[in-house]
């Protein structure tokens, strides 16, 4: 029997716990996915869903009171249990990350050139001069005008969009296999965001990088991602390819999110609000974390955690819900009608 080809990145039951003065709090609880070359995975969630913590765990960047469980396999090697020295050879080199706020992610006291050449000197052992040449090429690749002149400037001399390009260029210096982007465009204006997203698409096409994109913006996910994972309360609610998520959402939370997003197109249909507020991670119910806000919750949803399994209607869709997709869709239509009647 032939062995299955190794995935570029395979995450198995990733969990993150934090030691707080009030006990152990679980921020992430059971995330699994696979990623291959050229694929894009979108991780969608609101505040407190654990999306940022999960990728920080993957990169070994958790806070000191955090501990990661499960496995994060990069080409078969587990990043979580790896010694720091080995992890450092992979981080920044094969697996790179870009963060939300470029101003605070770049060192304000070093020129952009220094920060970029540092990466190359450490990972590739290049000399300062060679590294500088490569860095200017990288800035050209991210379409920064006058790269050779501006590389000597300090981060605060750039605008937000330009800084984010610098971050992307830095992340791509070593031509990594996986790029993890933690809300890279949230802090940017929408026109700048459009530029950055197009840039990421082009880079992916040119270099074949796999991208893990964390965001709360469903529009960004729609434009960029093939696979989508919807998180709530640290657990995966639904995981499927983009078409299934957007056109046939099978989880009340996914459906609720899609109905709550204000839309440009379409009429003036009022947005369907999801009542309540994001969950208290220290006091999650034993069952599904979305129970208290779910308009179609069954009594057992609060006590029995729904198994995360392939859906009945489509084995490619993984979901964690006691209701079937037909019930979810029907309930959603009913809610929309009630909302329309009230308005």
């Amino acid at each position: 029997m032939a062995t299955a080809p190794m995935h570029l990145m395979e995450v198995k039951q990733l969990g993150v716990k934090f030691k707080t003065p009030d006990g152990l709090v679980s921020a992430v609880n059971g995330i699994s996915f696979t990623l291959d070359r050229g694929e894009t995975l979108g991780i969608v969630g609101e505040s407190g869903s654990g999306k940022s913590q999960s990728v920080l765990a993957m990169m070994g960047l958790l806070a000191t009171n955090g501990q990661a469980t499960g496995q994060v396999l990069y080409l078969g090697q587990d990043l979580i249990s790896m010694p720091k020295a080995d992890l450092n050879r992979i981080r920044g080199n094969r697996v790179a990350m870009i963060f939300q706020d470029p101003m605070t992610s770049l060192n304000p006291y070093l020129t952009v050139e220094r920060q970029m050449t540092e990466v190359l000197e450490f990972h590739k052992g290049m000399s300062r001069k060679d590294a500088r040449v490569k860095a200017v090429q990288a800035l050209d690749a991210v379409k920064m005008p006058e790269a050779a002149r501006r590389i000597g400037m300090y981060p605060h001399e750039f605008s937000g969009g330009m800084r984010q390009r610098v971050m992307i260029a830095m992340a791509l210096l070593c031509e990594p296999d996986v790029l993890i982007a933690d809300e890279p465009t949230t802090a940017l204006d929408v026109t700048v965001q459009a530029q950055i997203l197009i840039l990421m698409r082009e880079l992916q096409r040119d270099f074949g990088t796999a991208i893990v994109m964390i965001t709360h913006d469903l529009g960004v996910v729609a434009g960029l991602c093939d696979e989508v994972m919807v998180l709530y309360g640290g657990q995966v609610m639904e995981q499927a390819n983009a078409d299934a998520i957007f056109y046939r959402p099978s989880h009340p939370y996914t459906a609720g999110l899609l109905a709550a997003v204000p839309r440009l197109e379409g009429g003036d249909a009022p947005m369907l609000a999801i009542p309540g507020a994001p969950p208290n991670m220290a006091k999650l119910p034993a069952g599904c974390p979305f129970t208290e806000r779910c308009a179609m919750a069954l009594p057992k949803c609060g006590t029995e955690r729904p198994p995360f399994a392939p859906a009945a209607h489509d084995a490619q869709v993984l979901r964690a819900c006691h209701l079937g997709i037909d019930d979810v869709t029907r309930n959603l239509e009913r809610l929309k009608m009630e909302q329309g009647a009230r308005a």
Binding site: T20, A63, T64, N280, M281, A282, E338
Partner: protein
């Protein structure tokens, strides 16, 4: 018209606006009240956090003991602080003759003198602190709120005060006015209020541009009411913290002055005086220096740990 709402308030939740602190994601979440629990006061929060800090709590206990000893001790102990015991001049500490900490070169019991000295030092410390905190707050709040030229002028005065070498002025004042107790307090106050003024001014400046102050202006709240109900209550945290840090500084200043012979006059004594006496006979009677010195050091440590504890307890980032 509105229909049944499904706002289920199972306690307040992750506040998406409070960014996760670097050293712990959800430190304060599980402390949020459930409906039906009494509301949580910020001061009660701070108290809890303070008592979780072991160093601060122990320091509080030790400091309380020292204060009690200084107040009650001289009444309880058999010796007077200025009574010479002719049988035990410069006697080493011993249990048998009742001089637990020994005597100085005039035969006076060191323990009683140390505690009496503690009374004076602590009293000077508290009085000078209260005075300098009051002056500092008034100065800083006015400068911070008025802004512009008034602020600039007031802060240049502060800068000038920093530039003046206080020892020279202290010598001058002592020479001209004498060494009464209240004069020592005034001299120390005169050089300790600037820190508080700067801090209060800085805090006022930052509070002035807070959104809730802007909201109050947009509502039309008059300026005085903004200061009294929005700015001052939010200053108190910083003021408390820096007060606990000012006290050891003041005590130390008093000790320095006394050490140099510019502070408290004989026969009254303070830790500084005792340490001054002790250094003179350090090689033959080390206990005369060690015991008061240790007492002073421990007191200062306690204040510093308490100050640290208060700073952590009242840290605005924890809210």
């Amino acid at each position: 018209m509105i229909g049944p709402r499904r706002f289920v308030n199972i306690g307040p939740n992750v506040n998406p606006l409070i960014p996760a602190k670097h050293d712990g994601l959800v430190n304060s979440l599980s402390q949020l009240p459930e409906p039906g629990n009494p509301p949580r006061n910020l001061w009660a929060d701070a108290r809890r956090r303070f008592f979780r800090n072991k160093a601060a709590t122990i320091s509080l206990v030790v400091l309380t003991l020292i204060i009690l000893a200084c107040i009650i001790g001289p009444w309880v102990l058999p010796f007077d602080f200025d009574a010479a015991d002719w049988d035990a001049m410069s006697a080493a500490p011993s249990i048998t003759n009742g001089h637990y900490w020994g005597t100085d070169d005039s035969g006076r019991d060191l323990l009683v003198r140390s505690l009496m000295g503690g009374r004076i030092s602590l009293m000077v410390g508290v009085l000078a602190t209260v005075a300098s905190v009051t002056v500092g707050i008034a100065w800083g709040a006015v400068a911070g709120f008025m802004g512009g030229k008034v602020d600039g002028f007031m802060m240049r005065i502060v800068d000038m005060m920093y530039a003046i070498p206080y020892l020279l002025i202290a010598i001058l004042l002592v020479t001209i006015l004498g060494r009464e107790f209240y004069l020592v307090v005034i001299t120390i106050t005169a050089f300790s209020w600037m820190d508080m003024a700067r801090i209060v001014r800085g805090q006022t400046l930052s509070l002035r541009s807070r959104e809730y102050v802007e909201a109050a202006r947009s509502i039309g709240v008059p300026t005085l009411r903004i200061i009294s109900s929005h700015i001052v209550p939010n200053l108190l945290g910083i003021v408390v913290i820096y007060t606990t840090v000012t006290v050891p500084g003041v005590i130390l200043t008093e000790s320095v002055l006394s050490f140099l012979g510019l502070g408290i006059q004989e026969p009254m004594t303070s830790w500084g005086v005792l340490i001054a006496d002790g250094t003179k006979v350090m090689d033959v009677s080390p206990w005369i220096l060690l015991f008061p010195g240790a007492l002073l050091s421990i007191t200062l440590y306690c204040f510093n740990f308490i100050g640290d504890g208060m700073r952590d307890a009242l840290d605005p980032k924890d809210r």
